[in-house]
């Protein structure tokens, strides 16, 4: 007997929307965190001293090759052990930032390496100190050209944030789990959730493509 009735979800829409809001908050905070970490690590990975490059590479390699759920449990169960009592939200944002930072640093590193050498030489010849060159010239160009790949990091982050439901953080997936067990209609709940996530990431990718194009207008090939 097949029964597919989506109307049973209507009374729970507000509840789910609150979860979606929490997902959005987590993702925005983690995106900021991972871009900050990513900038620092990308800088280290393009440093002139080999040992700094190596340390940064070890970080990226480790956090990209260990499953996020293992990293999350490491922080969630480990931090209280060293006397740091953080709630699930903070732990989740920290874990997502660190994992996302590894991916963001790869993107930014590519952005930095793609900068024309002539630009850097011009800055050096003008007598700008290295700090200023990095802050005012390298970083703006690298950030601007890596908007689109950073967007893929964000989309991955939105999908990965569903894993935070395993540490009792009731974001979109966590709320949906509650609704599924309240209504005894898991199929409807999860089908809708699947489509919502797909639509959400689709909209985000469109927004990023537009932003990327707006920021890099002058780099577009001239069309007569």
């Amino acid at each position: 007997m097949l029964r597919l009735d989506l109307t049973i979800l209507v009374p729970h829409l507000g509840f789910l929307a609150r979860g979606a809001l929490l997902t959005a908050q987590v993702c925005v905070l983690s995106l900021i965190g991972s871009v900050l970490i990513g900038v620092a690590v990308a800088l280290a990975r393009t440093a002139s001293k080999p040992w700094i490059r190596r340390v940064a590479f070890v970080y990226v390699d480790l956090f990209r090759n260990i499953p996020f759920i293992v990293q999350l449990f490491f922080f969630y169960y480990g931090l209280p052990e060293i006397g740091l009592y953080l709630d699930a939200f903070t732990t989740g944002v920290i874990a997502l930032s660190i994992a996302g930072g590894a991916y963001a640093s790869d993107v930014l590193r590519a952005g930095i390496l793609a900068i024309d050498n002539g630009v850097l030489e011009a800055a050096e010849v003008s007598g700008l100190p290295r700090r200023v060159i990095f802050r005012r010239i390298v970083l703006p160009i690298a950030l601007r050209t890596s908007v689109r790949p950073l967007g893929s990091v964000l989309i991955n982050m939105i999908l990965t944030s569903s894993i935070l439901s395993t540490i009792t953080l009731n974001e979109l997936t966590g709320q949906a789990k509650i609704v599924a067990s309240d209504t005894f209609r898991p199929f409807e709940v999860y089908v809708v959730l699947l489509v919502v996530y797909a639509a959400l990431t689709y909209l985000v990718s469109i927004g990023i493509a537009l932003l990327h194009r707006a920021l890099n207008r002058d780099l577009q090939p001239q069309v007569a």
Binding site: F74, E81, T166, P186, L193, L194
Partner: protein
Amino acid sequence: MRFSEFTPYDLVLLAQGLGVTLGLFLVTSLIGAAVGATFAVIRFYRVPVLVPAITFVCEILKNSPVLVQLFLVFFGFPSLLHLNVTPVQAAVMTLSANTAAFVYVIAVSAIESIGRDQIEAGRVFGLTRWQVLRHVIAPQAEAFAIGPLTALLVNQLQVTSLISVIGVMDLAKIGATLNMRTLKPFVVWTVVGILYYLAAKLFAALGARFEERLRAHNAFRGL
């Protein structure tokens, strides 16, 4: 639990968990690769209704969390169809479908990377579409696809850790069990993390060697 210290038997447990993880990874990778490649062939033949349907399903699978897909298969399907799904069955179905969606994209772009002129030349020589696919496109597409495919599989190995959430006794679940018993999260999750890391590195190295072999025919030989 009275025994809260680590015991030698924990090593056996970890080995078991690693075995379950690697076993499920290999099985779902093989099924996923076969299904994904079949979808790409269907696209190559431009089968009318099937192609848009496959593309739509793959887009949904690629753009939604694997955890939600797992919940849909493990909790949703049984309640809709009134059948029993064990955690392992749900894990195999979900991971295979997910891998297939990504393999499909890689396989399609690999097929499209072969110039049309080669296909047309093959057809002019009287080869059927299947013969062109089998003898002209496949050998080149393989070499093209192996790099992205390795990256995908290394990623899918990490994705398998999610099946611990629906109760499959894989490496992550063993880690959770040991964590609950010994209350030593740093040790447990570090060991589990290292095991995943080594497995990922192993597959990356295997993929790189395989790629070298497939590309050997057009490698630069030196002057």
